[in-house]
Symmetry: C2
Subunit: 239 residues, 2 copies
């Protein structure tokens, strides 16, 4: 059994990990923001800096995974506490993947601007601008829900992911029409398409963070379940 | 400290988890195979079956995650053993993601064949056929390396992922040329492009499984490191 002293130590260690995860989250948010700025401006130097800074995110992932393992071995948490550590580990993985997607956006921005130096690029940015700002907000809110352990807020974000997916599909349809009308835009339209795809994936990871938060707060693994629909049905029928 | 009895129990429990992970691996391999068959044949009934069968993979993920947590709480493994459990947990996540990508392929096959019922689809399948078979082989070998805990084999697979990435880029260039030459193929070419992207991602996950295997065997976290280049340099200079 875990004594009071050990349990306090566990709390302190977990708090250290959580604050580092939030630090990583802030870093990842600003990378995403910078990557989108590169896609808008075509600033190749900034794009290279975003790509380079992903190394810091990767280092944080390895270090935090290690801290989680140490916490488990040293404090031998009970089932309840272990669940929190495991879910925090999954948040770390999602944050690293968001870093990967931002790096992809910076790389596409770099290549695209080297290839075409005309006005078509700006229309590419315009195509994805609204999606990017919705996803940036969703990511910010999911980190906030994780920080505050706010299950209700996390639940709302999961439903929001469907709106993001619909926006992505509508962008895709528009780009196909655009390419068909003017085949000379195919190459730059595909750049916008890959950027849109990367943004949509960041939305998926933000949704995952919300799911892990619910797991931590409510102790329910809601992945692949009808939990969201059921819970929202309950809220609706109570109101 | 972990006594001999408890350590034996740990081994038995871990072996149960490992064999279930390999079962999940086999399931995921056959889903990928079936999804590609749908993309070739346009069999809508089979596509629906592939999409449906992803639920089984999702259930396995949740159940196996749970088994890993129980193992840790009940057996309280030391640092070394915990590393194996954590890495096995990551293999489970990668397998579930492979299931997602196969489902995506089946979904694209379903939509594509409903949209265009002409010969252009078969050329779509031909475009990605070789990539799909390389990635299927890579996935099979990575599961084999995980099953046998063969670090050397896993190392070779990681290097192989670069070949897959190059093949993907070459498919992308070909499809762009194809679309530019005949804009009426844009829609079906994009189907092939998304399928190629899903296949390339399955390759990434197979590479991740190889990395987790090395972590289990060698106790080194080689993600984001120059481990592969260094190790292969050593092999080259010794031969």
């Amino acid at each position: 059994m875990t004594g009071e002293h050990s349990s306090k130590q566990y709390d302190t260690d977990l708090e250290t990990i959580r604050s580092k995860v939030l630090l990583m989250g802030g870093l990842v948010e600003s990378h995403f923001h910078d990557a989108m700025a590169c896609f808008r401006s075509g600033n190749i130097v900034q794009a290279a800096a975003v790509i380079k800074s992903d190394e810091e995110v990767n280092r944080l992932e390895v270090a935090l995974d290690d801290m989680c393992s140490h916490l488990i071995v040293k404090r031998q948490p009970a089932a309840n506490d272990l669940r929190t550590v495991m879910a925090t580990g999954k948040v770390i993985t999602d944050l690293e993947r968001i870093g990967d997607e931002s790096t992809k956006i910076a790389r596409i921005a770099h290549e695209a601007h080297a290839r075409h130096k005309n006005i078509a690029m700006f229309s590419g940015y315009e195509t994805v601008r609204v999606l990017a700002s919705s996803v940036a907000e969703m990511l910010h809110q999911s980190l906030d829900a994780f920080a505050r352990q706010d299950g209700d807020k996390a639940l709302k974000l999961i439903a929001y992911d469907e709106i993001i997916d619909n926006d992505f599909r509508s962008i895709m349809r528009n780009l196909i029409t655009f390419m068909m009308e003017d085949p000379s835009t195919i190459s730059s339209s595909l750049d916008a398409l890959w950027v849109a795809k990367a943004i949509e994936r960041i939305g998926d990871h933000a949704k995952n963070i919300a799911e892990h938060t619910i797991y931590i707060v409510e102790g329910k693994d809601i992945r692949h379940s009808d939990y969201v629909a059921t819970k929202q049905g309950t809220i609706a029928s109570n109101s």
